[in-house]
């Protein structure tokens, strides 16, 4: 390094290193180690790389009887990355798939230094109208093209393996003196007959099954409900109480009575709201006696009317004489009263 370094203001500057730096950045693509993803053709590109690649078909024969196979070898020459090249899948190419039943012939991975790749396929013509092994388009990456101003933009050129005419003759028969193997697919030849159930199962008609299904759901649900009621006898009554929206709302208010500034008044308001929602109580009924007479007119039993009146009197006593003491017991009494009225 020191032999080419120049002294500038007493400092040795590494000019050679500076000159090599751009090459380090370019080396991967110039030397062909990496294929850029930008500009790759959407199809017919098999990762082949080289400056001048050519492809061609080689066939073991050009006349093949129907139901027999010919070996077609795709020869790819001039490849610089033989181990990266993907074997073209002819089964995905309609031109081949429509003409042939295709079987791959396994091959060992190529040596790193080889320049010629060979991919062999066994092609069985589908019928006698097949007249050629069709043209195969083959794009490859030319690393030199990208850095040549004349060829820039053509770094993925295309070459083709030209189509090869073939003749498909009639199938060989026994008269030809040869034993012809069955030409069916391998999976079909390997098929083992499945045992057949000889007993005809008695399958009920669909309407009977549907009727059974339709009945089973409600019957099971009803059975569950009966068991539940037997196990939790009070739950039914509670559920009925909850059924009344007015009762549910009143119970909700009773639970919040303790937190209010005037619990007895709050309880009285909740109870009165319940009675007005549950029964068509007159809006003018506000005092205990008025409420009692309204309920009596509505046909409520005297015992229940008396209990309601007693409740409102107790509330008034709490509010005006006891100063709000004992509102908890009033709330419990209100809850019990609502339950009793709901159960009537």
């Amino acid at each position: 390094m020191t032999d080419v370094a120049t002294k500038v203001a007493g400092i040795r500057f590494p000019w050679r290193a500076v000159a090599v730096l751009p090459l380090l950045f370019l080396s991967d693509q110039v030397l062909g180690k990496e294929i850029p993803s930008v500009g790759q053709p959407p199809g017919d590109f098999y990762n082949a790389q080289g400056n001048r690649i050519s492809v061609k078909w080689e066939l073991d024969r050009t006349a093949v009887p129907e139901n027999e196979e010919l070996a077609a070898t795709l020869v790819v020459s001039g490849v610089t990355n033989p181990q990266d090249v993907i074997r073209p899948d002819l089964r995905k190419l309609p031109a081949f798939e429509s003409r042939f039943v295709i079987a791959d012939v396994g091959a060992a991975s190529p040596a790193a230094e080889t320049k010629v790749l060979r991919f062999t396929y066994l092609l069985r013509p589908r019928n006698q109208t097949v007249d050629c092994v069709p043209t195969l388009a083959f794009h490859y990456y030319n690393p030199a093209a990208a850095y040549n101003p004349v060829t820039a933009g053509r770094q993925f050129p295309m070459t083709t393996a030209k189509k090869v005419p073939i003749v498909v003759t009639r199938p060989r028969r026994e008269a030809d003196g040869l034993a012809i193997p069955l030409g069916e697919p391998a999976w079909l030849l390997a098929y083992q007959p499945r045992p057949v159930s000889l007993a005809q199962p008695a399958i009920p008609g669909p309407w009977l099954v549907l009727a059974l299904i339709a009945l089973f759901g409600p019957v099971a649900a009803a059975a569950w409900l009966l068991v539940w009621r037997r196990v939790y006898p009070d739950c039914g009554r509670l559920a009925r109480i909850r059924r009344s929206r007015a009762a549910r709302r009143a119970n909700e208010q009773l639970r919040h009575a303790r937190g209010s500034s005037d619990p007895p008044a709050f309880l009285a308001s909740a109870m009165l709201g319940y009675l007005r929602a549950r029964f068509p109580l007159s809006p003018n009924s506000a005092t205990p006696n008025e409420i009692g007479s309204s309920l009596t007119e509505l046909g409520l039993s005297p015992v229940e009317v008396e209990e309601v009146v007693d409740f409102f009197l107790a509330v008034d006593a709490q509010r005006f004489f006891l100063g709000g003491e004992g509102s908890d017991s009033l709330a419990t009494e209100a809850g019990t009263l609502i339950s009793r009225l709901e159960s009537t």
Binding site: R173, L182, P193, V196, L198, A221, A239, R242
Partner: protein, 292 residues
């Protein structure tokens, strides 16, 4: 020596001495001789028929390297499986055995017919569906025309081809039971959420029922016409005579294995509708009808 013993062992395994003859000896007479088979199966039970059919199939497989010897055995197996089918067995496995026997006997159209008959009895059976698609792909359409597009039926993916009626009824039963339980729970607790769950279940049940109903209606519409399969290449004409022009301009004959629906019959001609909806006439002797 070792190889010889191995082959002998394989033969013993493949053909145990369970009362039936050596396939080599069987090959001396034509196993597919119909009169002989008819005589053989006249008083045979279903089990005997099946056993005989399996033996013929195995004999055919044994001779797979020589088609001229293998195919008669497969034809015999197909005939025996057909006899089981004629006697009323409607098992998907039997339909598959029939179809594969016929295909290995070299009769692709008959295999397609057998698969369609099997699917008419068990349209949800996946192996039958796969086998039919494979058989359709083996039909030799010309490479230089779009006849395959016009003739090849598209595989159907409906609820009826995905699950059997028993599976559908089971799912419906579970969903219905869940809906009933959710409603019961609502009665117990009065929680509106349970009603929501019940509503979801009923909606699912309605969707399931609608899918089944739609499937049945479209199936009835499709299958109101009997299915026919072209058994040898036939000209597809505009009318019921050789003098009428070809229906598909520039197209070659309909290859064997093409499926179509028979619309009407006049003289010795049948009017058919291809999968693409194209309607034309073919000679009656060129088609094979399914017995659905």
């Amino acid at each position: 020596m070792t190889v010889g013993l191995g082959i002998f062992g394989a033969m013993l395994l493949a053909f145990p001495h369970n009362g039936w003859s050596d396939p080599q000896a069987d090959s001396q007479s034509d196993p597919a001789d119909i009169s002989r088979l008819t005589e053989l199966v006249r008083d045979s039970s279903l089990a005997e028929l099946q056993s005989r059919a399996m033996r013929e199939f195995e004999s055919g497989s044994w001779f797979r390297s020589d088609a001229s010897k293998a195919r008669p055995h497969f034809r015999a197996a197909a005939w025996l499986y057909d006899e089981l089918w004629r006697r009323g067995l409607r098992d998907p496995a039997l339909a598959l055995n029939r179809a594969h026997s016929r295909r290995l006997a070299g009769d692709l159209p008959a295999a397609i017919v057998a698969l369609n008959e099997g699917l008419a009895a068990a349209r949800w059976d996946r192996p039958l569906q796969i086998a039919l698609e494979d058989a359709r792909s083996a039909v030799a359409y010309p490479t230089h025309s779009d006849l395959a597009t016009l003739c090849r039926p598209a595989p159907k993916a409906t609820i009826g081809t995905r699950m059997s009626p028993i599976e559908g009824q089971l799912i419906a039963g579970v969903v219905w039971l869940a809906a009933c339980c959710f409603i019961t729970r609502f009665v117990m607790t009065r929680g509106a959420g349970w009603l929501g769950f019940a509503g979801l279940c009923l909606a699912a049940l309605a969707v399931l029922g609608a899918c089944w109903m739609h499937d049945e209606l479209t199936r009835d519409d499709d299958e109101s016409r009997s299915l026919v399969v072209v058994i040898h290449d036939a000209q597809f004409r505009r009318g019921n005579a050789e003098t009428f022009p070809l229906r598909l301009d520039g197209q070659s004959r309909l290859p064997q294995g093409v499926e179509a629906r028979a619309l009407t019959r006049r003289g010795e001609w049948v009017q058919i509708r291809l999968a693409s909806g194209v309607i034309g006439w073919v000679p009656e002797k060129a088609i094979l009808k399914t017995n659905n």
